[in-house]
Symmetry: C2
Subunit: 355 residues, 2 copies
């Protein structure tokens, strides 16, 4: 088999202010073909097999006027550069002693067909992806047994120190991170009561099948009252994947000294209206703690924690399977379209692009 | 001298929805005269000399529909009951071995001329008020060397663990609590840089005279830019006395892992418009911590900390004086009027009512 000498790639063509677009006059992304460089020492040539789709990617492409680059936890994507994304790929050729042709790797591959990576570059984050037990698809390294599972674990266990017997609420509970929070809370931490919040009755029933005592549909007309009833005298921990109005409601449903893991605020990624926080004074009167965190801060021990997650799966404490991911077979030309599904709220579990 | 047998008292007559009123058709408070009971065992009869005025009092009188009583850190004031307030008084008669006629005491005296108190009742919180060194007025027990000084100390030192060399911003910096935060940060903790935020140029110059490196007027048209410039690459600690829009601005001016002590949110006490929090995502991306606290949680060691505050005053590390309080000589009929000055934003330091 001859090695490829060119690669197609989706580059950032313009900074979106609202929802990104492509294939129109106001394109965010553009498809280009570039020559691949010859491999230097320590480099590997990788073919992209799967791409991870993450809301955080939206933050990397906002107009410079809307972001303060030094406040982003990873640098923004520059105009003309390939759109950044984690992925899984197959090594086609290697000038690095740690990798051989045929190896499966996780890396920051970006939206490209083929990537030449310096295997020691931290920004590339190349790690071997060994086969998973029980016939689990390796795509779970991009989700439940990768970034999203680790986000759930660190947020719940380390950031807010959730303990056995505590009462927990999780928003975005049918999402990639939220569905793992629900399971880690019930199956690993031993929370006594876990309430999920999701965007449809169908998602809610799925979250309950994962072990949540209850899951509430935030689109229901009675949501605010349902949440108050479900929280009773208040909960100890709120794992917040969404920010905005649901966070505001939750401020009024925490116990004294309750802890909130601030993991995401997807409702403001695309410049939508920002709603007032009516219950903010509860932070003071109820002595609440809101703690923001980024999974990247914990990556030094990621391999160890992935081992714990895989162990919990083997012991039946966490269920990982097809229901934890939506793998979308995608033509290279359609990569942005699959990614945009993130913002339609219709996915169950981790959204993975399969090339 | 014959002992009084009756007392006038201001009672809560109706729950205000906006700013409280009195002496109009929509009265919040009403003046009544009640008989005083004879002293039982352990009780003392106290004449009110000074009353403490605190924004938190507003929260105790909101309509039941607007508050969730179990979420208040002290119970609401009931209709027909005397308005609750801390104060300083003189013991006129005692059936309690720990107090004698003539003693000066701190207690929850309420808006009354004379109070019969059970000296052992935690709700009354009766403590002897010994003379202060250096000719300092005992009224400072209601402010700089009492609740507000303790609030400043615990928020800064215990809640967010401010350390020597850190950069600190304080809002409400000309207020009773804020002016102590500025001084404790610079004089006791050893912060390298302290920026105050206050509501007039005059207040700002006073805050700078207390040791702040800079004080910014939030009413200035250039405030947002001034704050950004003053914060440079971000600050470690924000002591938040106000919530609302200034908190929102500060979210964008914190260092990674910055800590915010959430002490107050005066802008929403009177039902004013709640503004959106545009920079909330910085809580996640900058891994910020927002920690609400209530000084009452720390009262077990209050006497010890008051001793440290008095010591810092004696060593010249903290300056306490007339500038830390506004003592308003007030006819009993005008107690609500003096209290309402809290919400006009015109006071410097602790607002004390002198009867």
């Amino acid at each position: 088999m001859s090695l490829p000498t060119k690669t197609r790639q989706w580059i950032l063509a313009s900074h979106p202010t609202g929802l990104p677009t492509y294939g129109t006059r106001t394109d965010t992304f553009a498809l280009e073909t570039h020559d691949l460089p010859a491999l230097s020492a320590n480099q590997i040539l990788v073919q992209t097999l799967y791409l991870s789709n993450d809301p955080a990617q939206r933050g990397w492409i906002s107009p410079p006027s809307q972001i303060d680059p030094k406040r982003l936890y990873v640098p923004p994507v520059q105009l003309g550069h390939a759109m950044r994304a984690r992925g899984l790929g197959r090594v086609l050729a290697s000038q690095n002693g740690n990798f051989a042709a045929g190896d499966l790797v996780q890396a920051t591959l970006n939206w490209v067909e083929y990537a030449v990576l310096d295997a020691g570059d931290p920004a590339a984050g190349v790690r071997k992806a060994s086969e998973l037990p029980g016939g689990l698809s390796v795509t779970h390294y991009l989700g439940a047994l990768g970034g999203t599972g680790l986000t759930a674990w660190y947020g719940l266990v380390e950031v807010v120190g959730c303990r056995s017997g505590e009462r927990v609420v999780v928003s975005g509970a049918a999402g990639a991170t939220g569905s793992m929070v629900v399971q880690i809370a019930k199956g690993v931490v031993g929370a006594s009561y876990v309430v999920g919040i999701a965007g449809s009755e169908e998602k809610c029933r799925w979250v309950e099948s994962l072990g949540a005592d209850k899951c509430l549909n935030y689109k229901s007309a009675t949501f605010e009252a349902d949440l108050k009833e479900a929280c009773g005298d208040g909960v100890d921990v709120y794992f917040d994947n969404v920010g905005g109005q649901i966070l505001d409601h939750m401020l009024a449903n925490m116990k004294q000294h309750g802890r909130i893991a601030a993991c995401g605020a997807i409702t403001s990624y695309n410049g939508e209206a920002v709603l007032p926080m009516k219950n903010y004074f509860d932070v003071v009167s109820m002595r609440l703690q809101i703690k923001g965190f980024i999974v990247l801060d914990f990556m030094a021990k990621a391999a160890e924690t992935v081992g714990k997650l895989v162990g919990a799966v083997q012991e039946g404490k966490i269920r990982v399977g097809e229901e934890n991911e939506t793998v979308v077979q995608t033509a290279f030309e359609e990569i942005p379209g699959t990614w945009l599904r993130l913002f339609e709220g219709g996915n169950q579990g981790k959204l993975v692009t399969k090339l």
